[in-house]
Symmetry: C2
Subunit: 139 residues, 2 copies
């Protein structure tokens, strides 16, 4: 069981040292053992958890979800139903955000297409911002 410093833990887990300390401060991970010099050192399990968190973050999970996923991950007796529920809830949230962004970009794209983009001041984009025009999906 090799013990590593925070910078080494950061390198192997892909989580910055800054974030590792932060995760500890909000109780997402347990406080690791300290040396006599008060340096943190991390064991295999801790490194594993950090990598887990890293991948969950890459999938856009927030800390509350990650907290629950970590709990389920540690529990060998867990039911996969809970994991699936968290994942599907998150999928719905991601899809909603993506749809909102897409709607914005579509609206703006259509406006930009109708904008000459030359020396003339006329511009449907500014006109749309100017007047309380119809909702976005009307374009």
């Amino acid at each position: 069981m090799s013990l590593v410093t925070i910078t080494q833990a950061a390198q192997v887990s892909g989580v910055s040292a800054k974030m590792i300390r932060y995760y500890e401060s909000i109780g997402l991970i347990a406080a690791p053992a300290r040396g006599e010099n008060r340096y943190r050192h991390y064991d295999e399990t801790a490194l594993h958890e950090l990598a887990f968190i890293r991948r969950a973050r890459d999938l856009g999970f927030g800390f509350e979800d990650i907290r629950q996923l970590l709990g389920l991950w540690r529990d060998r007796q867990r039911s996969s139903a809970e994991v699936k529920a968290i994942a599907l809830r998150h999928v719905a949230a991601l899809e909603q955000k993506a749809a909102a962004l897409t709607a914005m970009s579509q609206t703006l794209k259509h406006l930009a297409e109708r904008c000459h983009g030359d020396e003339r001041p006329d511009c449907p984009i500014l006109e749309a911002l100017d007047q309380p025009g119809p909702p976005a999906h009307a374009w």
Copy 2:
């Protein structure tokens, strides 16, 4: 020229009073005239600008973009090319963010489909978080 208080300005513009003060503090809008009681009062032009900002925010523009758009909007001699450039840059940013979210939700959706979601502990979702699996687009 009717002058209104901040709460009335909030109601007609759709921007909260809190945000109106904030926009003023960061110099996004000019400081309005004050009454003897130091109450802010807003004229037609100010209300118009607030509504403009509101709609720009609805399209996802950040404050720096809005600052520039407001400048172009006030300038009757502006060229539409600058407006279009800002808009298209923003469209690209929105599309990129939307694509990132969609990629996450796709990955997670596929994993969830392969998860029984019953009493059994086996779960591809946790397995994916557990091991440094292939990148998301491999699913």
